[in-house]
Symmetry: C2
Subunit: 298 residues, 2 copies
């Protein structure tokens, strides 16, 4: 019979494969390049570049095991120092500014003492907020969450609003999505139930994003639209380097920088004190970069 | 008779003016735009954009006073909570990739109990390291330091090598320069002596940088040179957002984000795992992005 780590690993790898396949099909031109590392387990860094649809993106799988240093034991509040961690992390930056940036992460952690939990989420960062797309996206996430239990979506949606927030800009990174952490087999459901939910989140990613991409990828755009996209990507960089817990943890603990920072866009821009014109699409977008919007019933 | 804060303020403003004037003359086209804020003292944010020579840069003066919250008192290790802080901060991103990025900061802090210190420094980030320029730059800094005392340059040069280091890239931000902090009127010299030194650092900036700029600003460059510049700017963004103490402190304490983040370039780029060709100018530059090089005697 398979161990928990074998089961998670197999499912997460399958999800990575399915997502890469779906995104390659959607792009129609670029293919993922894979770098494989086996120093502390297995990491499959897959990067797509200069595609017809996707300018830069990564779909990374990693499974690692080893011994946790005391400081990290305290930080994670666990007693077992022999750990196993497994995850899939995705960030996709499209070419077309009408197509949103997307991020997904699913992760599992356990120690030899049986302490374990799942975490993850999906969130969308449109350069231009489209109401119908936002509603569609949140409905898809709600439907996945409802497949587990009705309390999940409102809880995880609020957590995403809180997590994907840039204090120094007083704006959210995008229109949020779902975010959850420390879903524990002892308290939140059986291991099977939680794995099933997290896998369903992983399987929600590709069909949901591909539909959003297909609806917008051939729209024409201006230089001004492109410039706005680069500025929004600048905010994405700020969030990832200043606040993102995974990135900070990774930079501190010496994960492979290039695998981690695949999340950064090919090009980003900063303009001093750029303020979009009143009633422009850009200022309408900014007005919606705040938490607490009920997208499903909007 | 002037108070210490009045004297520092007047000198630092004069330095800001002189530097803006020199950079405008050097650019020959763009002028600094000033935003003035007076909420907690006086801040003069001056930004230059889309110049012939300078793509984006800021030369900021600020003087502020107020009451420090207990957490900051601990962090600064002071007893007096009524503070005065004054500084000039500069980052300049040139258009031409052969011209280096430069950063300067001079600052003064005091409390009502007479606790006070100076800090600052200048460091250079060439996209392409030029030996002669690096030597010239460090010699200029050494000469300024020697004007105070012979121990200053080697000490402050080492501090710059340590401070301007990006651990997750295992490279320095550039070729360093000088960095100093907590120069205290009780222990390191009289107030007059320290002010004179810090002012001399401020006055070293413009003539030294303008000479470097003039030597390179009209050189032709290729698309590949430009792309390399954008990648190096990506590293600059990483340093500033992840490690720079001033930026981190500012983001935490709610300074004006746009004034602080004038340090970020107009355009920056990230490529997955970009490795320059062996023996190229790019790989020669990378080989020199480490501390401990004796540029003056190289």
């Amino acid at each position: 019979m398979s161990t928990t780590r074998e089961r998670v690993s197999a499912e997460f790898k399958r999800i990575q494969n399915d997502i890469c396949h779906a995104l390659e099909q959607c792009d129609g031109q670029a293919k993922f390049h894979e770098d494989r590392f086996t120093d502390r387990g297995e990491a499959l860094t897959r990067v797509i570049r200069d595609g017809k649809v996707f300018e830069k993106g990564g779909v990374n799988f990693s499974a690692s095991s080893g011994t946790l240093p005391p400081a990290i034991l305290d930080q994670l509040n666990v007693k077992g120092s022999e750990y196993f961690a497994c995850g899939v992390s995705i960030v996709i930056h499209p070419q077309n500014p009408w197509v949103p940036i997307i991020h997904m992460n699913i992760r599992y952690f356990e120690t030899e003492l049986g302490e374990s939990w799942f975490g993850g989420g999906i969130d969308l960062t449109p350069h231009y907020v489209d109401q119908a797309d936002a509603k569609y996206f949140h409905k898809a996430l709600k439907s996945t969450c409802d497949g587990w239990k009705p309390e999940a979506y409102p809880d995880f949606k609020n957590q995403a609003d809180e997590y994907f927030f840039i204090p120094h800009r007083n704006e959210t990174r995008g229109i949020g999505g779902i975010f959850f952490d420390h879903l524990k087999p002892e308290t939140d459901g059986s291991f099977d139930e939680l794995l099933k939910f997290v896998v369903s989140v992983g399987d929600t990613f590709a069909p949901t994003y591909v539909q959003l991409v297909n609806g917008k990828k051939d729209l024409e755009y201006s230089e001004a639209n492109k410039q706005w996209q680069l500025l929004r990507r600048g905010r994405y960089v700020e969030f990832n380097l200043v606040y993102d817990r995974g990135t900070k943890f990774g930079l501190q603990t010496g994960w492979r920088t290039e695998s981690m920072l695949m999340s950064l866009p090919k090009m980003a821009s900063w303009e001093y004190n750029f303020i979009p014109k009143a009633e422009s699409l850009e200022s309408e977008t900014l007005a919606q970069l705040k938490g607490g919007i009920d997208w499903v019933n909007s």
